[in-house]
Assembly symmetry: C2
C-alpha cells in the first residue's frame, strides 16, 4: 500500500492491517516515508484513534525498531516510573535515588520536554556536565554502582519512538491516548524491567486534562503493558497547577534536591511517595502500599537518597557540588515579579498556561531543533490556597532579557486567579488502576 | 502564537484570527514552521474545515505570497479554465487553443498530478522539448503570439500554493473543500484574468466523489472568487470513469491531438465544448451558451485549434512534429492486456482505481520528489457501455517492465465490472453554478 493510501485509510476511519501499519512505519525508519506524511498520519490518528489490533501492531513496531534489554540476572528487581507529562514535574529526580535506596534497581529512561510540559532529560541537562547519553554498557555500569541510572532514549532502544515523539511535540498530536500508550509501553517493555509504575496526570496542565480521559489512558496503558508481559500499576494524579513551586530546568533541579533533603514541597513529596510505594509493591518488595510509603518517607528524611543522588550525578559526569550548593546551577540574569492585582487567596495557577510561558522563555522547544535554556523558568512564590495582598508577588519569572520576561508576564498573569476564599482542594492522587487479579 | 498552538487550536475546532493564520503560513514560507507542522495543520483542516473568514485569510495569504498579473490592456478578454482534477482529463490541451481560436486570450497556469489524478503539466512534459517553466515575460510573449500559453506555477505567482499543493498530494489532505478552493482561487486571481470557468468533478475518480460535496465545492469556489473580484462559472462534470480512452501522459497528449483533429472521443469533446461555451459567455464574448457551443464545435472541426496547438508547442520549445505524428511521443516498451473474465457489457471502469494503477506504473508521484515517466499508462479499449466477449481486451497497460505491468494488472482488473446489460448512463455534465443573480 502506498504511504498516502495508508494515511487516507486512517483518515477515513478504516482499520489498517498490522502489515500495512508496520510497513508504513518501517518506511519512515528507512526514509521512504516523509516526516510530513507521518505528521499527517498522526493527526488522523488523533481524530480516529487506533483499534486494539492497530495499537498492538504500532507498539510492537516501535519495540521491534531496536534492542530489548533484560535484567533477569538474579539481582534486585528492576522497576521504572513513567509520567504522562506535566508542568513542574520533577518526581523522577527524587524517586530514582529513593527507590534505589529502598533496594530496587531503577534503570530509568526518560524523555525531553514535550509541548508545554517539561522533560526529565532537560532537567538533568541543567546540571553542569551531567550526561544522559550514556551507551548501554555504561548505563549498566552506573546502575550496578549506584542502584539507579537516568538516561535518554538510546539509538538501540525503540529508536522509532524518539522520532515519533519529537514529531508529535511540534504538531499538536501529543494528547492521543493510543499514541501516548504505544510510546510509553514500547519503551518500557524494551527496558526489560520487571514492573512499571505510571503517573497518569489529569487537570489543566496534563495532556489529557479531563479526568475520565486520563482514566481511559491509564487503563489502556496498564492493559497494553499486560498484553506485552509487563506488570504495571497507574496512579492518576492532579496537574491542575504545577507540581511543586518551580517550572524550568535548573529551578526544578534545585527543588528536587530540596525534596531529597526532606524539605518539601508537600505536593511533590506526596506524589513521589505514592508512586514509590506502588513501585515497591509492584516489584514484590512490599505488600502494603501504606507501610511502603511510611518506609520511603523515613528513608527520605534520613538523607540516604540525597547521598545516592550525589553519587548518581558524579557517576554520570555531572558536578556533584550542585547537590550541596545549588547556586552552582545555571541562573537567568533577569528576574521579573508578577504581582497580585487584588488581595485574596490564590485560587488557580493554570499549569498549561504556565507551561507555555516557560516554553516561551526558552525552557522548552517550539521546534524540534530549538535549544533549551536551562536557566529560565518560573518560581511560584504564592501557591494555590495561600493568601496574598494586592501587589504581593505570586510568580517570579526568570528570563534572559527584560523583553522576554515582559512577553511571558502577560501569559503568567493570565494564568493566575485570585478569589475571596480558598477553593476546596481537589484530590492530588485521585485513583489507582492496577493490573488486575 | 506558537506554530504548535495554531495547529492545536485548529485541531480543536476553534477559529483562528486572520493574523494568526497568516503568521503561521508566512512562517512556513520563511522556514520557521516545518513542513511536518503544516502537514498536521492541513489534516486538522481536513477534519475541521475553515470559517469564511479563515478561508478568505488563507486565500489572501496565498495570493499575497507572490505577484499579481494584469491583462487590463484593451486586448481580448483573458480567461482560464480550472479542473478540480480527474483521471484522463486532458481537456486543457484541447480547450486552450480552441478558446484562443475563438478570439479569447488564454493565459493558462496548470498543476502537476495530485494523488491519483493527472496534471496538465505532466501531460505537456510528455511532448519532447515542451517547456512549462517559462518566465512571465516569455509567457506574455507566447500569449501575444499564439493567443494561449500554458505554464506551471511560477515562483512569482502564489509560491505558497505550490508548496502546499505538493504537501497535500502526499499527505491525503487533498479532498478538503476549503483547501481546494483557496488553492484554485488564489492562483486564478493572481493570474489577472477577467473570467474563470471551473470544471468541478464528481464520481469515483474525483477528489470529492459525492455529487453534493462537489456542488458545495463549486459554490465555495464561485463565491470565494466573487469576493476577490473574479467572475466565475462552474460546471459539475462526471469523473465516474476516466475521461476519454487514455490515462497517462504521452497517451493523453495523443488523444488530445485526436480531439483537436475532430476525432473525438465523444465524452472529451462534450466536456470541452461545454466548458468552452461557458468561458465565452463569462468573458462577454457570447450571450447564449448553446450558440457558443455550436460555434466552438465548428471551429474544432475546421482544424484551426489544431494548427494553433502546433504553434503553441513550437512557441514553448516543443517538437511540433508530434502534433502530426504522435508516434514521436515517448512510448512504453511493455504492453499487457487486461481481458474480460466474462461476456457482457462493461458497466464500470473505476476512475480512482485506474488512476492509482497509473500512478503505480509511474505516470504520477508517490512522493514529492518522484520522477514521472511520460510513456506509461492505460488505454481503455472497451469503454463503459460497450459490449465485450470473454477474453476480449478491456484495458491495455503500457508499462516499463513486465513486472510492473503485472503489479498494475491486479488493480486494473479490480476496477473493471462487466454486467449483462448496459448501465443507465449518468449525466456527463450535471449542473452549472453561476456567479450572479
Amino acid at each position: 500500500m502506498l504511504p498516502v493510501e495508508v494515511i487516507e485509510r486512517k483518515r477515513d476511519g478504516a482499520e489498517l492491517s498490522p502489515r500495512d501499519l508496520t510497513d508504513f512505519l518501517d518506511g519512515f525508519t528507512r526514509g521512504d516515508v516523509g516526516d510530513y506524511q507521518v505528521a499527517a498520519f498522526l493527526m488522523a490518528v488523533y481524530y480516529r484513534g487506533l483499534s486494539d489490533a492497530e495499537l498492538l501492531a504500532l507498539t510492537r513496531t516501535i519495540l521491534g525498531s531496536g534492542r530489548t534489554l533484560s535484567f533477569d540476572d538474579g539481582g534486585p528487581p528492576a522497576v521504572d516510573k513513567h509520567s504522562t507529562g506535566g508542568v513542574g514535574d520533577k518526581v523522577s529526580l527524587v524517586l530514582a535515588p529513593l527507590l534505589a535506596e529502598a533496594g530496587l534497581r531503577v534503570p530509568m529512561m526518560s524523555g525531553r520536554g514535550l509541548g508545554h510540559s517539561g522533560g526529565t532529560l532537560d532537567k538533568l541537562a541543567a546540571i553542569p556536565g551531567f550526561r544522559t547519553d550514556l551507551g548501554l554498557a555504561e548505563f549498566r555500569d552506573v546502575l550496578a554502582e549506584v542502584g539507579c541510572a537516568m538516561i535518554g532514549q538510546t539509538p538501540e532502544i525503540a529508536p522509532l519512538d524518539g522520532r515519533l515523539y519529537a514529531l508529535r511535540d511540534v504538531t499538536a498530536t501529543v494528547p492521543s491516548i493510543p499514541l501516548i500508550a504505544a510510546s510509553i509501553v514500547a519503551k518500557k517493555v524494551a527496558e526489560g524491567i520487571g514492573a512499571l509504575v505510571l503517573d497518569v496526570k489529569f487537570g489543566a496542565g496534563a495532556f489529557l486534562p479531563d479526568r475520565e480521559d486520563a482514566l481511559r489512558l491509564a487503563e489502556t496503558l496498564v492493559g497494553l503493558a499486560g498484553r506485552l508481559g509487563l506488570p504495571a500499576t497507574a496512579l492518576l494524579t492532579s496537574m491542575e497547577a504545577p507540581l511543586g513551586a518551580t517550572v524550568g530546568n535548573a529551578l526544578e533541579v534545585r527543588e528536587a534536591v530540596a525534596c531529597l533533603r526532606g524539605e518539601g514541597p508537600g505536593d511533590l513529596r506526596t506524589v513521589t511517595l505514592a508512586l514509590g510505594s506502588e513501585a515497591l509493591v509492584a516489584a514484590g518488595a512490599a505488600t502494603d502500599p501504606d507501610a511502603a510509603g511510611a518506609r520511603l518517607s523515613r528513608l527520605l528524611d534520613g538523607g540516604g537518597p540525597l547521598a545516592r543522588f550525589r553519587r548518581l550525578v558524579e557517576a554520570q559526569g555531572g558536578d556533584p557540588r550542585v547537590v550541596d550548593d545549588p547556586d552552582g546551577l545555571p541562573a537567568a540574569s533577569f528576574r521579573h515579579e508578577v504581582r497580585a492585582t487584588r488581595s485574596g487567596v490564590v485560587s488557580r495557577l493554570d499549569a498549561r498556561a504556565l507551561g507555555w510561558a516557560a516554553v516561551e522563555l526558552g525552557a522548552g522547544r517550539r521546534r524540534i531543533e530549538d535549544e533549551v535554556d536551562p536557566s529560565v523558568g518560573l518560581e511560584i512564590v504564592t501557591p494555590v490556597g495561600a493568601g496574598v495582598e494586592a501587589g504581593g508577588v505570586v510568580v517570579r519569572i526568570h528570563a534572559r532579557t527584560e523583553e522576554e520576561a515582559g512577553r511571558a508576564a502577560g501569559r503568567v498573569a493570565g494564568a493566575i486567579e485570585i478569589a475571596d476564599e480558598a477553593p476546596p482542594p481537589g484530590p492530588l492522587v485521585w485513583r489507582k488502576v492496577g493490573a488486575g487479579p
